[in-house]
């Protein structure tokens, strides 16, 4: 495997602040990720996880701080299709009249011409992506008729079809069964080996231990950040979740 370049960070967010109409949702947050790293974003409801993703995708403007992607400003990264975003289930209208194929094809829009006419390569990328998430039998199923887990996989396929080097996933494991969970975590390991950078938010502490190299604990700002083995301690988790002990969250520590 290629040796990662330690000079350049894939994601470099420095002291970023986000507010919604004056109400601060995130402040002084820092994050640095290299190629091939998986980072878990952990925090309670309303801690600002989705907000952090919004800032990294450019969906909301940061009021302070700086975001560099591969050393370049966010706009350049957007144009280069560097970042793919997989939304939280609540963030999408599941009754929208589109099918699995349409949604995955949206991953290619950024690299198509203005009329968004799919080329042979786009069709191929979409087919491959759908196969990787095991949804080939559902190509023309409207997303409203999919189960929650199948819908998650559809949006994951969209991110794969985009061929981005950074994947941002908002709660990819919420509401999926064991089989889908396994499929998704295997995909993450493959992505890691392909050198992609992954940031995922989760409420499941087991996943963090399983495959996150790094962990970012947030509660409106960074509570702790670093290697999972060092940072993911009961004390840090307790302070992230406002005093609730980790026993309650994921069983007694061994």
């Amino acid at each position: 495997m290629e040796k990662p370049n330690y000079q350049n960070y894939r994601i470099d967010a420095e002291n970023i602040c986000v507010d919604y109409n004056g109400k601060v949702a995130l402040y002084d947050a820092n994050l640095r990720l290299k190629p091939g790293q998986i980072c878990g974003l952990v925090g309670m409801n309303g801690a600002g996880k989705t907000t952090f993703f919004n800032a990294l995708t450019g969906f909301v403007n940061i009021s302070k701080g700086k975001i560099r992607i591969n050393g370049e400003p966010l706009r350049a990264a957007q144009k280069d299709q560097t970042i793919a975003y997989v939304p939280q289930s609540e963030g999408i209208d599941s009754q929208f009249p589109v099918n699995v194929w349409d949604v995955v094809m949206m991953g290619r829009y950024g690299s198509m011409n203005i009329l968004r006419c799919p080329r042979e390569s786009d069709v191929q990328a979409v087919k491959d992506a759908i196969r990787r998430v095991d949804l080939t039998d559902f190509l023309s199923t409207p997303i409203g008729n999919l189960s929650g887990g199948q819908r998650k996989r559809t949006f994951l396929a969209r991110a794969i079809a985009q061929r981005a080097s950074i994947l941002l996933l908002d709660e990819p494991f919420t509401g999926v069964d064991i089989r889908t969970e396994k499929l998704i975590s295997e995909l993450f390991i493959q992505f890691k080996n392909e050198g992609k950078t992954i940031l995922l938010s989760t409420h499941d502490m087991i996943h963090v231990r399983e495959f996150c190299d790094l962990v970012l604990l947030i509660n409106k700002t960074v509570v702790a950040y670093g290697e999972t083995s060092e940072v993911f301690t009961p004390e840090n988790i307790t302070s992230t979740f406002g005093g609730i002990s980790p026993d309650v969250l994921f069983g007694p520590e061994s």
């Binding site: 589109v98 009329l115 968004r116």
Partner: protein, 290 residues
């Protein structure tokens, strides 16, 4: 009996077509309905029904001022349509008042201004035709304007069809892949203002919002494919126009009202009998008896 029935149906259909004003009215209403129907798919999916209502009412003072100054009325209407949207955005951002309140507040203010202006200017403005439309009395210059604006909207919506769909569905993804979301937002608003401008000629300011949401809502009940939705929406809008105009001719009804009522009936039909989303879910009953 049968030949009589056939010939009366024949008369019912062809008699209106012998009149010049009826041919013009049919053509214009169908065109306008098609444009509004096309847009209505986006508006219903984006949840902009209230916005459509606001913009269509807000164009009122623009129409009046343009008539008074002898300018093309579409120009005045467009300026006030876009202006109302800008004002709504501004007030919402600068105050703690909720969005739907701001929308209601701004458009009723504009509408009232329009009514006051009409009573003050006292020119040959026909308040009735502004409020309720006058597809039977459209002048030649209005025809030209309407055709031009309609073409413009259709071209814009066609070129940015997929981008606008993505914008309605998942603006965050659109932003992430480098699509200019702000541009699409204003594009949709511009098309909305333009459609309101052409729509108010046939059904009038008060009912134009129906043209902008009912066909889309009907189509939404009938399909799970976006492209089909736009086609069904346009088709149902055109059919409603034709039905409305024929009914108004034969039964001496208010034209704008008839067109909108036809749309409402088609929606009602879909609401009751749509295969998957209708109350009676016909497909299911049907397959049970197979």
């Amino acid at each position: 009996m049968e030949p009589f029935l056939l010939s009366s149906i024949n008369t019912f259909v062809t008699e209106p077509l012998t009149h010049d004003f009826m041919r013009k009215a049919l053509f214009m209403s169908s065109l306008v309905a098609a444009v509004c129907g096309l847009l209505s798919s986006y508006l219903t999916l984006k949840g902009w029904a209230l916005m459509g209502d606001a913009v269509s009412h807000s164009v009122m003072p623009g129409v009046v001022v343009a008539y008074a100054l002898g300018l093309p009325f579409s120009l005045g209407a467009f300026i006030f349509g876009v202006g109302s949207v800008a004002l709504i955005g501004f007030v919402k951002q600068k105050s703690r008042v909720k969005e739907d309140t701001v929308i209601g507040l701004v458009f009723t203010g504009f509408f009232a201004l329009g009514i006051v202006l009409v009573s003050k200017i006292k020119s040959n403005i026909d308040l009735h035709s502004i409020l309720f439309g006058s597809p039977l009395g459209i002048s030649l210059s209005d025809v030209k304007q309407t055709v031009l604006i309609s073409l413009l909207v259709v071209v814009l919506l066609s070129v940015f069809r997929k981008d606008l769909m993505l914008y309605c569905f998942d603006p965050r993804h659109a932003k992430t892949v480098g699509i200019n979301v702000l541009f699409l937002h204003y594009l949709l608003l511009t098309c909305l203002s333009l459609a309101a401008v052409v729509g108010l000629q046939t059904v009038g300011i008060i009912l134009v919002v129906a043209m902008l949401i009912t066909p889309g809502a009907t189509a939404y009940l009938l399909t799970d494919q976006f492209d089909n939705m736009t086609m069904i929406s346009v088709f149902s809008a055109i059919i409603s126009s034709v039905i409305g105009i024929y009914c108004s001719f034969w039964f001496d009804l208010e034209t704008g009202g008839s067109i909108v009522l036809a749309q409402t009936f088609i929606f009602l039909f879909a609401f009751l009998f749509a295969p998957r989303y209708g109350i009676f879910k016909f497909k299911k009953i049907f397959s049970n008896y197979k």
